[in-house]
């Protein structure tokens, strides 16, 4: 068989290739959608995760006291969470203000409490 007998790509091959490429693209879009996370408040006390709250689905504002020493309470609102009151001396956790966007964090070192909105896509890190 001479080399010239082998025709590299026929018209039908092209059509099949395009169909396969299109099929692969559809599969890829189905199985690997853009990672889009809703803001979830992750509350942990002394290194143990205590609760996860999806802030988009909070019906109305409510107070959430945490079982920690010194005592502290969070305010959970639709789309935001913040430390309402704390009996720690420095009140740095209250100064953290309202946590709204992914990556926002409030920490109370004396009580061992960390409230963090799960890291999102648009920022990789935050320096302060």
């Amino acid at each position: 068989m001479k080399n010239s007998d082998i025709k590299l790509i026929k018209k039908a091959d092209l059509v099949i290739m395009l169909v396969i490429a299109l099929f692969a693209l559809i599969l890829w879009l189905i199985f690997f959608p853009a990672k889009k996370k809703a803001a979830v408040a992750v509350i942990s006390v002394n290194g143990q995760e205590f609760r996860r709250i999806a802030l988009d689905s909070v019906a109305g504002p409510y107070e959430l006291p945490l079982d920690c020493q010194p005592p502290l309470a969070l305010m959970i609102e639709r789309g935001c969470v913040y430390v309402l009151w704390a009996e720690c001396p420095d009140k740095l956790c209250i100064r953290a203000g309202k946590l709204r966007k992914n990556g926002d964090t409030a920490v109370c070192l004396p009580a061992g409490v960390v409230v963090r909105l799960e890291a999102g896509e648009w920022l990789d890190a935050f320096t302060y």
């Binding site: 082998i6 590299l8 790509i9 091959d13 099949i16 290739m17 396969i20 490429a21 692969a24 599969l27 890829w28 199985f31 690997f32 942990s44 290194g47 100064r95 953290a96 203000g97 309202k98 946590l99 709204r100 966007k101 990556g103 926002d104 964090t105 409030a106 920490v107 070192l109 061992g112 960390v114 963090r116 799960e118 890291a119 648009w122 920022l123 990789d124 890190a125 935050f126 320096t127 302060y128």
Partner: protein, 328 residues
């Protein structure tokens, strides 16, 4: 001889193509250490084990070496004895810190422990310390020789201005021996951005809430640290005195700066330089930044932002009340 049909080749290629798009498993974790929140995230086949190794390492160097609160840490033992043989790790960190102290003409100082305690007391007593209180605490020359540190006199070592950066460096070493392609390690405001591609780093707004950003810096993998006057300090008679001190006076510098963010090739350097540059001011920091191949963003209380020339194209301002100037 049988030949492969080109179509078969295309088929095989397409079959394996999706594997290029599958991102490796991503892991996240956070814990309290170094008096702050440490957050880790990594992508790679061994991400989970790597993050757990980083956590162990950071907790170890905090508790066993750097912590000023634990009486059995190496720093605490050194402070109580005045001089003791140093572990190789601490020796290395002190060596680099003392080099920065020298290169910054004393604007950076690792022996401000007592000055910090005096300010903490001042906050509790609500009385401003007099300059005389600091006279004997103004740094002389610390010396490292024969595996020991000397010249501490009545001062106390405090590695608070480099500890978070050191933690990032240690995390970086672990990541280099892992199969992680990309990772972000945040130890308080000190960050390690590890791996390929660019990273978007939010810089805290100095006036608004603790979660607000003033702008976004896009950077390649590097170490980034910020020193801000809003972060830690004491309030006396309604005035705020940040825990950043000019080692020559014992008082916070009065140059109008509210925050300095530094990008460097090492965590210790970025952390130390953010403090040193806060004391030196935007103009005075240029030689120090140049020596360490570092860049900085300075924000002052007149709503002005001065950025190193290299960072300017990659800094996106989010608050139009501020103006950006380029440092030449």
């Amino acid at each position: 001889m049988r030949k492969f049909s080109p179509l078969a080749c295309v088929f095989v290629f397409l079959f394996f193509l999706p594997s290029c798009f599958v991102s490796p498993p991503a892991e996240e974790s956070s814990f309290l250490a170094m008096d702050t929140l440490v957050s880790l995230s990594a992508e790679g086949r061994d991400a989970k084990e790597t993050l757990s190794r980083i956590e162990d390492r950071i907790k170890l160097i905090d508790g066993a070496i750097l912590s000023a609160h634990r009486p059995d840490s190496e720093i605490s033992r050194l402070n109580s004895s005045g001089s003791a043989p140093l572990s190789p790790e601490l020796y290395g960190w002190l060596e680099t810190s003392l080099e920065i102290q020298k290169k910054s003409s004393g604007a950076f100082d690792i022996s401000l422990g007592k000055i910090k305690l005096l300010w903490e007391d001042a906050g509790k007593n609500q009385s401003l310390p007099l300059p005389k209180a600091f006279e004997s605490l103004i740094s002389g020359g610390l010396q490292l020789s024969d595996g020991k540190i000397s010249g501490l006199d009545n001062r106390l070592l405090d590695l608070g201005a480099v500890g978070k950066g050191i933690a990032c460096d240690e995390a970086g070493k672990i990541l280099q021996n892992s199969r992680c392609a990309r990772a972000v390690v945040s130890v308080g405001g000190s960050i390690l951005l590890y791996g390929g591609g660019n990273f978007k780093v939010g810089i805290r707004h100095p006036e608004k809430g603790a979660q607000e950003i003033i702008g976004v810096l896009e950077t390649y993998g590097a170490f980034v640290s910020t020193s801000g006057s809003y972060e830690r300090g004491v309030e006396i008679g309604g005035a705020w005195y940040p825990h950043i001190f000019d080692p020559k006076t014992g008082y916070p510098p009065e140059n109008g700066l509210v925050s300095v963010t530094v990008r460097a090739g090492s965590g210790l350097v970025s952390d130390a330089l953010s403090t040193a540059c806060f004391v030196l001011g935007a103009e005075g920091s240029a030689p120090l930044l140049k020596f360490y191949g570092a860049q900085a963003i300075f924000i002052n209380d007149k709503k002005e932002i001065y950025t190193s020339e290299e960072l300017a194209p990659y800094f996106a301002l989010e608050d139009n009340a501020y103006s950006v100037f380029i440092l030449k």
